[in-house]
């Protein structure tokens, strides 16, 4: 067996940890699916888990459900997706640029901080019964008669670690991409100024900052442009969420010290705008642009043809930054107190701008495949095609609800979270990450994937299960079923809930097949070496 180099080993560590978090979030998802179908179904299991919790009174089924619902997206997005993205980018960016990661020691820091931060958030839910959901609508997270204060403190600390870690990751990726373009490195302050476009603004105002990093991206592959561009959304997202977390932490600590602060001091609507502006930089910012970047990389690599319309693609990547900064009001279409002009312009029209940016992205990707005919549909390419299908379906559901009129009957229904969000996450994003893993495994280990047949089973069961689950629940949404609501059993939406549970089981079987195939490919010896092998000495940063 050939020795793995430093980058390959760390990339595999990120991938393995990402998949462990995916296992955890999948178990949570399946359990919540069972609870939705019948809230009484998990009573015995709940009693068993309660024995592990250091609390005097056994929590209710509702408290357990909402605690799980609060941490499920954190484990899924920041545990699985970010971990996988970090691993993949730490391999691909240096590989494509033919240079080393700028700060190798930060790769290790990123791995451990992300693991710790996500684990703390999960523990805040499992042990601390934190239940304010990821939306953290003010003043719910500081309403300590509803949300346990210790859980809130642990959750915000975990989230803060994750956000700081993401800033470190973005800094390192920026440093790797631009480290040599101006002949020298640059500081954290310089990076943040560049991320927020301040040097560009100064240049426009005739006060060029000659020491600022060169962000013109000339000559860089579109994937690298997308990674660097997506990192700007990442920075904004992390900064805004950090500020919200700090606010909650101040209130929580004051409460613990017996000096409760007045929640009404913060305007709930203003907070909601600020929070969604930052949070949406993930959903409508870096997720879309990182995804586009990976398509731009993988499709030419797998088809052997240069990316179609590369110059347009570069423009689209930059335009998408403006779009992602202006779309947050689609999360406030149900807020009649949000000015109508903002709901129309930001919530509807700018959000609809994504059909141009994503539409052109998908067109360039599909045209590349079309013009490369005859194309052998390899396993990674099949997953890439699946992810394009997932993004088309999920984005279509999204722009239908990003509408001042239709949102009146779709807001906070199952349509939003399943037909839109989970279609994007399961069929779009996860399928893409599986495709990247299938493509990278031979590069990282020097061995082919163990079974192509198992990979095909994985694809069809995952896609079929996800499609069934999300679209059946979407139908429940159009019939009035709310998200974030446990209905007594049986209820008006029972037929949809039972159907979605079947979809969830099929999806889980597909995922188990993937894990079996992965372990058979890596073999126990490789997995053991990821844990036990001594680290080679790092070159100086």
């Amino acid at each position: 067996m050939r020795p793995m180099d430093w980058t390959a080993k760390w990339t595999l560590r990120f991938v393995v940890m990402a998949l462990l978090f995916l296992v955890l979030t999948t178990i949570e998802g399946e359990m919540m699916r069972v609870q939705l179908a019948n809230p009484e179904a998990l009573r015995s299991f709940e009693a068993l888990m309660n024995a592990l919790r250091p609390i005097e009174n056994a929590p209710t089924t509702e408290e357990l459900y909402y605690a799980m619902l609060s941490v499920h997206p954190v484990v899924g997005i920041y545990g699985f997706v970010y971990m996988a993205v970090m691993g993949a980018f730490y391999f691909l960016v240096p590989y494509l640029l033919q240079r080393e990661v700028r700060h190798k020691s930060l790769v290790r820091v990123n791995f451990w901080l992300q693991t710790l931060g996500v684990f703390l958030c999960w523990a805040a839910g499992f042990f601390g019964m934190f239940n304010a959901l990821y939306t953290l609508y003010w003043p719910l997270p500081v309403s300590f008669d509803r949300v346990p204060v210790v859980g809130a403190i642990v959750f915000t600390l975990g989230a803060a670690i994750v956000m700081v870690n993401i800033l470190i990751f973005a800094f390192n990726i920026f440093g790797t991409v631009f480290g040599k373009t101006n002949g020298k490195g640059y500081t954290v302050g310089g990076f943040l100024r560049a991320a927020f476009g301040i040097p560009r603004l100064l240049k426009l105002l005739g006060r060029e900052d000659k020491s600022a990093p060169n962000l013109d991206y000339n000559g860089l592959p579109p994937f690298i442009v997308a990674v660097a561009r997506g990192s700007i959304d990442t920075v904004i997202n992390a900064t805004v969420l950090l500020s919200a977390g700090a606010l909650i932490l101040v209130y929580a600590l004051a409460h613990v010290m017996g000096r409760s602060l007045n929640p009404a001091a913060i305007d709930a609507l203003l907070y909601k705008n600020w929070y969604w502006w930052g949070l949406d930089m993930v959903a409508d910012g870096n997720v879309l642009i990182y995804t586009a970047g990976v398509w731009y990389l993988m499709i030419p690599m797998l088809t052997g043809r240069r990316l179609y319309a590369e110059s347009v693609v570069r423009t689209v990547i930059m335009v998408d930054l403006l779009v992602s900064m202006g779309v947050w009001s689609h999360h406030l279409l149900g807020d009649q107190v949000q000015p109508l002009s903002m709901r129309l312009i930001s919530g509807q029209f700018i959000t609809w701008g994504e059909i141009f940016t994503m539409g052109l992205t998908i067109f360039a990707s599909m045209m590349t495949i079309w013009k490369a005919r005859p194309v052998k549909i390899s396993i990674p390419l099949l997953f890439i095609l699946g992810s394009i299908f997932g993004f088309i379906m999920g984005a279509a559901a999204g722009i239908i609800q990003a509408n001042v009129g239709l949102n009146v009957v779709l807001h906070n229904t199952q349509w939003v979270i399943m037909t839109h969000a989970h279609t994007l996450l399961l069929m779009g994003l996860s399928t893409l990450l599986f495709g990247v893993i299938y493509a990278l495994l031979p590069l990282l280990t020097g061995k082919p994937v163990f079974s192509q047949k198992l990979a095909l089973w994985h694809f069809w069961l995952w896609m079929g299960g996800a499609f069934t689950m999300t679209y059946v629940m979407g139908m429940a949404g159009t019939h009035g079923m709310l998200r974030r609501t446990l209905y007594p059993h049986p209820n008006l939406y029972q037929v949809y809930l039972n159907g979605a549970m079947i979809g969830g089981i099929v999806l889980a079987i597909g995922f188990i097949i993937f894990l079996v195939n992965l372990v058979a490919t890596l073999k126990w010896d490789t997995l053991r070496r990821l844990i036990h092998d001594p680290e080679p000495a790092l070159s100086a940063d």
Partner: protein
């Protein structure tokens, strides 16, 4: 930009214009009064939210089919949602109830009958219990 790209961009622009024009027009029934005619409501009802409770006006809510009514919802603690549902579970309309603000929506009920009111926003673990059956009676 190549010819195929220009055609595709044109298709996207047409989809953008058609879907937005249709959904902003009175073809979506409530858009006719929420965006365009902006009528004066004939009746107004205040609904208050506090400590997981939906507090309706003392006399209940009775409206005439075809009349414009306004719902003014307020919250004394956290964010809730005011959602009105048919007896078959389908949602008629909803809005967020943001604390510290008067949240207003105008609606016209076309079909007589009884309607349920449910909080459509999560407000804590007791959120699922926030439902008032037969809260609104629409008379012919």
């Amino acid at each position: 930009m190549e010819r195929e790209e220009r055609i595709w961009l044109g298709i996207l622009a047409v989809v953008f214009l058609i879907v937005n024009a249709i959904t902003l027009s009175p073809l979506v029934p409530w858009q006719s009064w929420q965006l365009w005619s902006r009528p004066e409501p004939q009746t107004s009802f205040r609904v208050n939210f506090r400590d997981y409770q939906i507090i309706l006006p003392p006399g209940g809510i009775q409206v005439k089919a075809g009349q414009f009514v306004e719902f003014v919802a307020t919250s004394e603690d956290v964010t809730y949602g005011l959602g009105v549902f048919r007896k078959d579970g389908k949602m008629l309309f909803q809005m967020q109830v943001v604390p510290g603000h008067e949240n207003r929506i105008i609606w016209r009920f076309d079909e007589p009958g009884f309607y349920d009111v449910r909080s459509t926003e999560y407000s804590g673990p007791r959120h699922p219990s926030m439902v008032v059956t037969d809260a609104i009676h629409v008379i012919p």
